[in-house]
Amino acid sequence: MDLNAISFWVFSTLAVLSAIYVVFGKNIIYTVLSLISTLIMVSGLFFTMGAELVGALQILIYAVAIVVFYVLVISTVPQFKGQATDGKYMLLSIPVGFIVFLELAYVSIYGVWQSSTGIFDEKVLSELGNAKAVGTMLFTKYLFPFEVASLILLVAMIGAIILGRKKEDVQGV
């Protein structure tokens, strides 16, 4: 068994175990921490498969940004009402979850089939790597939307400061 196979089994086992705890855990903080663990393990799986860009984005966006947002919401809402102990939701969530799973499985397998078209075919990708290919497009052709996105972030930051400021502080204007 080579190192790649070992790491695949380790990552996938941990991912499945922590995903099970996300579903069945009772303490909401522990489930969120377990969700982070699942996401990091999945990004590890991406790395073992050589998709280094998706793995890095997984850590950056999901594990850092989105889960931190969840923790923030849970800690700011007093007496969080999200009790997961009620069994009647199972009736709805299991079939819906299964349908979503089927759809995702279909889309992923179909996507693998179709992904070898476009200017970055497999030969180019093996030369360049994913990160370089995306970076090339982002900083050449799509530079302008990329720059304007920074303006959107600036505006959102200004807005958060204005709307989130305490009333008393406004007096000095």
């Binding site: 090339t136 939307p145 709307l163």
Partner: protein
């Protein structure tokens, strides 16, 4: 040569000469940002903003040669230049009404000025996008800025705290519903990309050439794109944010949303539909016809029941979305010309009616309730006369330009034999008389209830008089704008398959 070298050598330097209006607006925004930081001189902030906008307006006219630049992601043609000129012009009028209103309500922030400029920049990017990515990013810059502007009614006056609360409520509502709209549009873009493999309008058009070329992915993308755009233009049944957000925002911001943001949205609706999906017009024209009919019916009937004139104008703007998008039910040169013409004249009518409310809301005791209008003709005859002109124009009575706008849409619908929608348009215009004429009759036929003393600034008077004059002149001599609209529509059609 590696693929990176091939890409980079094919790019070249962007043509910055055609981007001057955007660059001026952006630089003005940052200058205002820093002025606001270091001095509290309010006159200087207003003057800088307006000077920058005037400069940008002049630079729009200095561009004689259009171009597609920024690596095919930005188009400067006469269509985008025309709309940019009108967007900047309307922003100048609206910004001139900012300071007295905000000072009276004690909600003055320098942020109002540069956030408005950022929103304007987003609209300018939006109207000159030949590509779904540019369009999306411009739309987001506009929308996010407007969510913030609605919620900025942070007053220090205890008696206005209710308005403060409502403004947050309206902003939150728009944020949630607008966020859903953004999600829908991004999903639509993903589906269109999946179906065609490109973001570019022209390339999408070259792939969707007839009914057979439409597969399920492309169709879903088109439907979701129409839903998302209808939500941003507040067409029924996606209008639920509009009355609350319009009523809750500070009135000059309502004007900015109802006029500038809406006209930019109309422009991009026309461009996406005509440039990206020209050969499948039968599909989207029927969708827009349904949305237009629903907007006209629901908007006008609910407006009849409103007691608050600001809320009534919000429903009236929903109805106007109906009148304007009805022109898309006739996907011909005539229909597009009517669409452009109505979008342009809507600027003057709506600025007039809403700046009127801005001017009156500054006076103590004025609540925008219909009873406040009683006997206005005796207390302030000039203002009452101006409001009469705007109400007649929104209703569409002949000497005003509103009639010409509706006539254009009507004739386009008749020309394409969409009889049912033409009939709906005429009946709904007749019903809208119920609420527009009520404002007029209350002003002229009642005795004053409250004793209010009114004072207006020179800028407000000047803007209202100017708008009324434009509405009347264009009503008598519509050829001026109609020629421009016809030219634009033929340019738009000629650019298909470029």
């Amino acid at each position: 040569m590696s693929i990176i070298e091939q890409l980079v050598t094919g790019l070249g330097v962007p043509n910055f000469a055609v981007l001057i209006p955007e660059i001026i607006v952006l630089i003005t925004a940052f200058i205002v940002f820093f002025i606001e930081l270091f001095t509290k001189n309010r006159a200087l902030i207003t003057a800088t903003t307006i000077a920058g906008l005037l400069l940008a307006l002049l630079s729009v006219f200095s561009i004689s040669q259009g171009d597609i630049t920024l690596y095919g992601l930005y188009i400067v043609d006469s269509f985008s230049l025309l709309f940019k000129a009108f967007l900047i012009l309307s922003t100048i009028f609206i910004i001139a009404t900012y300071r007295p209103y905000f000072e009276k309500k004690e909600i003055y922030f320098g942020e109002f000025y540069y956030l408005t400029l950022f929103a304007l920049l987003g609209m300018m990017i939006m109207v000159s996008s030949p590509n779904l990515v540019t369009f999306y990013i411009g739309l987001e810059l506009m929308s996010i800025t407007i969510y913030i502007l609605i919620g900025m009614y942070r007053t220090k006056r205890k008696d206005l705290f209710d308005y403060d609360y409502k403004s947050k409520e309206g902003a939150f509502k728009y944020l949630i519903i607008g966020g859903v709209g953004t999600a829908i549009i991004s999903y639509a873009i993903a589906l269109l990309y999946g179906a065609t493999g490109t973001f570019d309008f022209m390339e999408i058009a070259s792939l969707a050439t007839n009914e057979e070329s439409i597969n399920i992915g492309l169709l879903a993308g088109i439907v979701l794109l129409i839903i998302g755009l209808a939500l941003k233009a507040s067409a029924v049944p996606f209008h639920h944010w509009t009355p609350d957000a319009y009523e809750a925002a500070p009135t000059p911001i309502t004007t900015f949303m109802a006029v500038t943001a809406k006209v930019a949205t109309y422009a991009i609706i026309l461009r996406v539909m005509v440039e990206a999906l020209p050969y499948v017009s039968e599909d989207w024209s029927f969708a827009w016809a349904l949305l237009a009919a629903a907007s006209m019916i629901v908007g006008n009937f609910i407006a009849l029941r409103q007691k608050n004139v600001k809320r009534m104008l919000a429903y009236s703007s929903i109805a106007h979305t109906g009148y304007i998008t009805a022109a898309l039910a006739a996907p011909t040169g005539m229909g597009f010309a009517a669409f452009i013409f109505y979008s342009l004249i809507y600027i003057f009518m709506a600025i007039g009616a809403l700046v009127f409310l801005t001017a009156f809301e500054k006076n103590e005791g004025w609540t925008n309730h219909i009873d406040d209008f009683k006997g206005l003709a005796k207390q302030s005859p000039l203002m009452a006369l101006l409001m009469l002109v705007f109400m007649f124009s929104l209703l569409g009575i002949p000497p005003t330009v509103g009639f010409m706008g509706k006539l254009g849409v009507f004739l386009a619908l008749i020309g394409s034999e969409v009889w049912w929608l033409a009939v709906v348009l005429v009946i709904m215009s007749a019903i809208s008389a119920g609420y527009y004429l009520r404002v007029v009759s209350v002003m002229y036929m009642y005795e004053p209830v409250k004793k209010l003393s009114f004072s207006f600034t020179g800028a407000e008077r000047a803007i209202l008089i100017l708008m009324a004059i434009i509405v009347l002149i264009l009503g008598i001599y519509p050829t001026l704008f109609w020629n421009v609209s016809t030219t634009m529509s033929s340019i738009l059609i000629a650019s298909i398959g470029r």
